[in-house]
């Protein structure tokens, strides 16, 4: 179920419940009050009528007993009954003896065998009962005899003789058995009425007086109220629905937007920049938090990108102590840096081993030539001197052997001068440069500022410096066409500086073919953990190479 329908359901359900409970309570209360009022009113009317009727009868009886001048018994009154039927004086209900069953309250005075009879005029009774003030449209009061037949005119059947109407209703039954009461019951027409009743008990007369009003009339205002209440409920519900629709939009929209944003983010896209309506502080804060989350994720993404491109110097600050993502990224970066450093170390180590192997091989070969083949050739020379008779032949052979020895000496020196091992870099470079100066027109100035006797340079450093210098001079001879080369080798406590200058053609650092020359130099500098700086223009090319000197030797 969606959030909006949930909100709608809850709000409208609550409103409906409240309105209905209020309406029902109100209706019931109202209905109860009306019932009470009506019955009270009916009761007072009935009581009034009862008193009036009783007064009327008592007054008639009094007049009659004072002055019992009666018309002659029976006929004029249309009552057919014998005198014997009245043993004592009193008031009787004579209706059933009337020929037309007209309601007749008879007054009988028995005086020494003479019975005097009079009837209270029905009109008087009728006028009392038909007085309908405060009885509405359907209200009536009437009398019923103990034979359950009506004694006064029915308002609804004015043409009918009251006696012919049987009224055996709850009101009458109760009225005959007890004094008085009230209730809602069906009247003689079979219609629900509010009724009050009580007994009129005078001498021999027993009647029930009832005041009734139709329930439908009483309930009419209630019905109006009911329909009005229903209308009101309808209107309130309508308003509630409209309001809740609006409210649910206000509440649900930001949440739905948030949901959509989070969905997009969950798909891995942190770059969305949708603007949303923020209609409350909490929502604003929520979106602010979302923005922050987005930013930190973006930061993490950028950082990962940098790491992905192996830009390991990228900076990243974890957003907080609990920024696990940031922390693991940093951990990853550090691991990568460590890995790269190890890789670098390993690479340089491999290179160093390669170069060392190469140099060792050269040294071995050089020694072999110099100290192995050389002496053999000198032995050959002794042999020639000892055993060849012909002086000219001996001389020729000795010349050939001497030339061979010189050649071998050159080869050996080219491979690796033994001076480098025996006298160090200064002497080796001096010798090398001297030989170049002799064999070419270039003037090379070499200044040796190394500590001859207690140098801290390692053999490997010396070999590398020698090779770099060789490379520099060879390159210059091959490509630069310089007149002067100046090389200074300065040893200090913590570093050695090789400075090279030539006044040749120079080269463009960006376009020069990094043939074996410069690359080899750079590699050798790297192996020695040193630095190299190259500047070059026509007439001025310099190489500055610096290698660190460590106190303890690590090779």
């Amino acid at each position: 179920m969606s959030l909006r329908s949930l909100i709608l359901l809850i709000i409208n359900g609550l409103v409906f419940l409240v309105v209905v409970i209020l309406s029902i309570t109100f209706y019931n209360q109202f209905s109860h009050v009306i019932d009470d009022r009506i019955l009270q009113q009916l009761n007072s009317i009935k009581t009034l009528k009862k008193i009036q009727i009783e007064n009327l009868i008592q007054t008639e009886w009094h007049n009659f007993s004072e002055n019992p001048t009666s018309t002659c018994f029976g006929d004029s009154l249309n009552i057919s009954m014998s005198k014997k039927q009245f043993p004592v004086s009193g008031i009787y209900d004579l209706t059933k003896y009337h020929k037309q069953n007209k309601t007749s309250i008879g007054l009988v005075l028995v005086d020494s065998n003479q019975i005097k009879l009079n009837v209270i005029p029905y009109d008087k009774i009728k006028s009392i009962l038909l007085e309908r003030t405060g009885m509405g449209n359907t209200g009536e009061s009437y009398l019923v005899g103990d034979d359950y037949n009506m004694r006064s005119q029915s308002r609804f059947f004015p043409k009918k003789t009251p006696f012919s109407i049987l009224v055996k209703t709850e009101g009458v039954l109760n009225g005959l058995s007890s004094e008085s009461g009230r209730g809602i019951y069906k009247d003689y027409r079979g219609i629900d009425v509010y009724g009050v009743y009580s007994t009129v008990n005078l001498s021999n007369l027993k009647l029930v007086i009832l005041s009734e009003i139709d329930k439908s009339e009483v309930k009419a205002p209630l019905e109006a109220l009911k329909s009005r209440l229903l209308g009101l409920i309808g209107i309130i519900m309508l308003v509630a629905i409209v309001l809740s629709l609006f409210l649910s939009r206000i509440i649900a929209n930001p949440i739905i937007n948030m949901k959509n944003s989070l969905k997009i983010m969950a798909d891995g896209d942190y770059t969305q920049t949708n603007e949303f309506v923020k209609n409350s502080n909490e929502i604003k804060e929520m979106f602010l938090a979302l923005d922050n989350l987005k930013k930190s994720l973006q930061g993490a993404v950028n950082f990962s990108n940098e790491i992905g491109e192996m830009n390991l110097n990228a900076l990243y600050l974890p957003k907080s102590n609990s920024d696990l993502l940031g922390k693991s990224l940093i951990k990853m970066r550090n691991k990568l840096i460590e890995f790269r450093n190890n890789e670098n170390k390993h690479r340089i180590n491999t290179k160093r081993q390669l170069v060392d192997g190469l140099e060792n091989e050269r040294r071995r070969l050089s020694r072999e030539l110099h100290d192995g083949i050389g002496p053999l050739l000198t032995s050959l020379k002794f042999y020639i001197e000892n055993n060849i008779e012909s002086k000219t032949q001996q001389q020729e052979m000795k010349t050939i052997v001497d030339n061979t020895i010189s050649e071998i000496r050159l080869m050996s020196n080219a491979l690796m001068p033994s001076t480098l091992d025996d006298f160090g870099i200064g002497a080796a470079l001096t010798n090398f440069i001297e030989s170049i100066n002799k064999s070419s027109s270039i003037h090379i100035d070499f200044e040796d500022l190394t500590n001859k006797n207690n140098t801290k340079l390692t053999k490997n450093q010396e070999i590398n410096i020698f090779r770099i210098s060789q490379e520099l001079i060879n390159n210059a001879l091959k490509h630069g066409n310089p007149k002067n080369i100046k090389i200074t080798l300065s040893e200090f406590d913590d570093f050695i500086s090789l400075f090279y200058f030539d006044d040749g053609n120079g080269f463009n650092l960006d376009t020069v073919k990094l043939g074996s020359g410069i690359i080899n130099m750079k590699e050798r500098v790297e192996i020695c953990k040193g630095e190299i700086q190259i500047t070059s223009k026509s007439g001025n090319t310099t190489f500055e190479i610096e290698l660190p000197i460590e106190d303890h030797e690590d090779h």
């Binding site: 001197e385 000892n386 100035d445 500086s497």
Partner: protein, 210 residues
């Protein structure tokens, strides 16, 4: 005529034998012994004080020629060492001469020259052929050992500093890197026990360094 008692120290057997054969032809030279390395030679030397000349190779196992020269000096023996080596560089020659060699021969030296030198040296004279001397002198001329407080380079740097040149200008002039000049300057300041360049110039002119 007194025979020259001679010993050959070289690690190449073929060479030793060839040399020995060659020297046999000369009646005034008596090859007493042949040894393969410096250690062996020193052992022989300790037991035999009548040796006149040793033909000594530089590159040998166990103990090389340089060490043997030093050992002879410290043992105070009268044997006169002649270096016979494949190395023809001035630095080797100079070092040997400095360490007490009476002569220096290349292994492919002609027989006549060899005999001549053995005879000269056995007479107690040092002898270096013109070619060898030239190489030695060439080398030594470049090795000017400064006896001053400051090295030659430091002296140069100091002079340029006193003329008011910047580090970079000095570096350009002396064909070294700026850092080299900075280090030189720092070393000069340390050596003259001053605190900064201004004090340095003051003190340098006071003790007539510039």
């Amino acid at each position: 005529m007194k025979t020259i008692k001679l010993i050959i120290a070289d690690d190449h057997e073929l060479f030793r034998n060839g040399l020995k054969e060659l020297l046999k032809k000369y009646s005034d030279i008596d090859v007493v012994d042949c040894v393969a390395d410096g250690k062996e030679f020193i052992d022989v030397l300790k037991n035999n004080s009548e040796l006149d000349v040793v033909l000594l190779d530089i590159t040998m196992p166990n103990m090389d020629g340089f060490e043997v020269l030093n050992e002879i000096k410290s043992l105070n023996k009268s044997v006169k060492p002649i270096i016979i080596s494949m190395h023809d560089e001035g630095n080797y020659i100079a070092k040997c001469a400095k360490n007490g060699a009476y002569s220096y021969l290349l292994k492919n030296t002609d027989q006549d020259e060899l005999i001549k030198i053995i005879r000269i040296v056995s007479g107690g004279k040092k002898y270096f052929s013109p070619k060898i001397s030239e190489k030695m002198i060439n080398y030594m001329s470049e090795q000017t050992v400064s006896e001053h407080i400051l090295s030659k380079k430091e002296q140069e740097v100091l002079e340029l500093l006193s003329k008011g040149l910047t580090t970079k200008e000095i570096a350009l002039k002396l064909f070294v890197s700026s850092r080299t000049i900075e280090t030189h300057r720092a070393n000069i300041i340390k050596k003259l026990e001053v605190k900064n360049t201004a004090e340095l110039i003051k003190k340098a002119s006071k003790i007539n360094l510039i």
